[in-house]
């Protein structure tokens, strides 16, 4: 099939699944549609300074909520655009890397997680904890059910362990999979940037803004840059790479999106509806 037709099949399956996940998330944790809209505003706003993005724009909560409804409660502006694109990363040994450039980036942690393909098969058990969480945090919560992505949590735990991350303060920024505003909020929680249930508060308090505690998707993410599916994960890695090198100004033409002194970034990417998730930890290699 043509790319656009393939995209259509993927999108239709995804939209209803993610919509059902966020409806449950709102029921379990009180997440609101205004919080979802704030994610859209943040990412589309960041993208204004990213010439690689497809839909940079200044939005308001009313505009996001009144755009055409796709699958309740997600509107067109809550959802990324399926797209075409390409990205390239060159992997090399430490010695060779320094031959090619002065500022190579190291991959210090790789994690992967899976879950059932069918949303209805997701089990209801206990939260898989990160080092800075405890069982008491989640008493009475059935997990993952359909409100969270166990695969994302498993991937994060694996990657953090490999990279030696025991404290979320050591993360300077994150490029995560915001195919939907709701998947960004879910990813805040899966990645342990905040506790399960507090994802809505995280965006509301501005913690994930460019000047926030942990900037998330400074590039504008999938929501604003576009979603070239196979190339998306690499696209996220490239934006993270330029952040860590400190070369945002060189590549984007302005340094608005440059996180100062970014030494360690997380790249998080999905396949399916949280069916297969990978987390990579990238750090300065110089």
């Amino acid at each position: 099939v043509n790319t656009w037709k393939g995209n259509e099949f993927l999108a239709l399956a995804s939209d209803t699944n993610f919509a059902m996940m966020v409806v449950r998330h709102m029921y379990e944790f009180g997440t609101t549609v205004e919080q979802l809209a704030k994610v859209s505003i943040k990412n589309h706003g960041n993208a204004i300074y990213n010439p690689y993005s497809q839909s940079p724009s200044k939005l308001t909560v009313e505009e996001v909520r009144s755009s055409p409804m796709v699958a309740y409660p997600l509107t067109m502006l809550d959802i990324c655009t399926m797209s075409d694109g390409a990205a390239v990363c060159i992997l090399a040994s430490k010695e060779k890397a320094f031959e090619f450039c002065d500022k190579p980036i190291k991959i210090t942690g790789v994690g992967t997680g899976t879950d059932t393909m069918r949303l209805s098969d997701r089990p209801r058990g206990k939260v898989i904890l990160l080092p800075w969480e405890s069982e008491e945090d989640y008493e009475g919560l059935e997990y993952p059910g359909v409100h969270s992505c166990r695969a994302g949590r498993i991937a994060a735990k694996m990657a953090y362990e490999q990279a030696g991350i025991i404290n979320k303060k050591s993360i300077d920024f994150v490029e995560l999979y915001d195919s939907y505003t709701s998947s960004e909020i879910q990813a805040y929680e899966d990645l342990g940037l905040c506790k399960y249930g507090e994802g809505g508060l995280f965006i509301e308090k501005g913690y994930s803004e460019l000047d926030g505690k942990i900037p998330v998707n400074p590039s504008g993410g999938l929501l604003a840059c576009g979603h070239p599916i196979g190339a998306t994960g690499l696209m996220q890695a490239v934006f993270a790479f330029w952040q860590l090198q400190g070369t945002i100004e060189k590549h984007l033409g302005n340094n608005t999106l440059q996180i100062k002194n970014a030494r360690r970034g997380i790249v998080h990417s999905h396949a399916g509806t949280g069916t297969y998730v990978t987390v990579n930890v990238m750090e300065r290699g110089f």
Binding site: A71, Y72, D121
Partner: protein, 160 residues
């Protein structure tokens, strides 16, 4: 003697070209699949008898609302069990867009139905409830199509 011209018979139909340089032409293509429901046959046979069937693992007792022929936890073959016809809405959404097959039916509401004593959910449609009235936890009742299509849309749910 005049020779008779040999010619292929002509028709009056023309041909529509989408472009002349290069020539672009449309060719119609359709396919029929003959496909077996294999080990899932009991589920579809159940729909015909107005029964909702799931599967249960005899070893670990894990029960599936969406039938699985083998247990995803221990790999054992599962047995068919009858599911209750009344369940609860675990989550829902209303689709305003759909694939070609379902586009003319939008908007429609999809729900994940939670059944007592069953570990996984069933994805189905909720009919006859306005979006503002849908609440997670509300009770729903399975109904079956009379003129079967022998596909999963033969079962759907209404408010109980």
């Amino acid at each position: 003697m005049a020779k008779r011209k040999i010619k292929l018979p002509e028709t009056e139909e023309g041909t529509i070209l989408f472009n002349i340089d290069p020539i672009i032409i449309k060719q119609h293509y359709e396919i029929d699949y003959i496909h077996s429901y294999a080990q899932y046959t009991p589920f579809f046979a159940g729909l015909a008898k107005k029964k909702l069937l799931g599967t249960k693992c005899p070893k670990c007792n894990y029960t599936y609302a969406t039938p699985k022929t083998h247990c995803m936890l221990c790999g054992n073959k599962t047995e068919w069990v009858e599911l209750p016809k009344v369940g609860k809405v675990h989550t829902w959404t209303t689709c305003y867009f759909g694939s070609e097959e379902f586009l003319k039916e939008t908007p429609f509401t999809l729900i994940l139905v939670e059944f007592d004593g069953v570990d996984t959910f069933l994805l189905s449609r909720l009919i006859g409830v306005r979006e503002e009235e849908i609440k997670i936890g509300m009770k729903v009742l399975a109904q079956f199509r009379r003129n079967l299509k022998f596909n999963p849309t033969d079962v759907y749910f209404i408010r109980y």
